[in-house]
């Protein structure tokens, strides 16, 4: 169908320190209900959003790491991660809570160019 648009959510901020990460995730879940072609990109501190093992009890904030696991149920399966951002933080794909596709900044840039709508958080 021609009215399906490509939406990419670009996540560049760490979770919990600001509200951006949670807001992004909520908007993604809402957008998914409209059956668009949704993808998520994680770069810079955004990769910390999907770092395994959040324990938020001590800061008295609701953790949302587990919610990334529900994305598959919402048919959101295109998760892209910038390799350079991971490496700069001493992380590998094994440290992440969901399966993702790791790619270079150049490849990620190409994906961005293909989108109809880019939403940054």
């Amino acid at each position: 169908m021609s009215d399906i648009k490509k939406f990419m959510f670009v996540n560049r901020k760490a979770p919990y320190g600001t509200i951006y990460a949670l807001e992004s995730l909520e908007v993604v879940l809402i957008a998914a209900a409209f059956e668009q072609d949704v993808s998520l990109a994680f770069m810079d501190d955004g990769v910390y959003q999907i770092k395994k093992g959040h324990q938020t009890k001590g800061i008295e904030v609701k953790g949302f790491e587990k919610t990334y696991g529900a994305l598959e149920d919402y048919d959101v399966t295109k998760l892209y991660v910038d390799a350079e951002s991971l490496a700069a933080r001493g992380l590998t794909a094994d440290d992440l809570t969901v399966p993702v596709e790791v790619m270079s900044r150049a490849e990620l840039g190409k994906m961005m160019e293909e989108q109809d709508v880019l939403l940054s958080f």
């Binding site: 560049r12 951006y20 770069m43 810079d44 350079e84 900044r105 150049a106 840039g109 961005m112 880019l118």
Partner: protein, 98 residues
Amino acid sequence: MLNIVNKSPLERNALQSCIETGTGGAILLIEDGVYAVARGNSFEPTLKAAMGKFKVYALAPDLEARGIADRVMDGVTAVDYGGFVDLVAEYKSSQSWL
């Protein structure tokens, strides 16, 4: 694509990431992002190098408000709010690097 950056490159890496990731098109600097185009700032060489790939614009009212309208580096086009709208219309998509 039109890339919009509103953070100073000396405080945040938004502009750096934009330059490294983007495949081309334009960069419009607004709000504190306009400090990137001030002559003599330490990010100048990086922005100059990126001019081969991107056209660089800066929002004039933001330059003026910060007292740097008279020291904009060569190769940067200052635009007013109308010019901002024209840029958004000119490119197929836009992305805000927060």
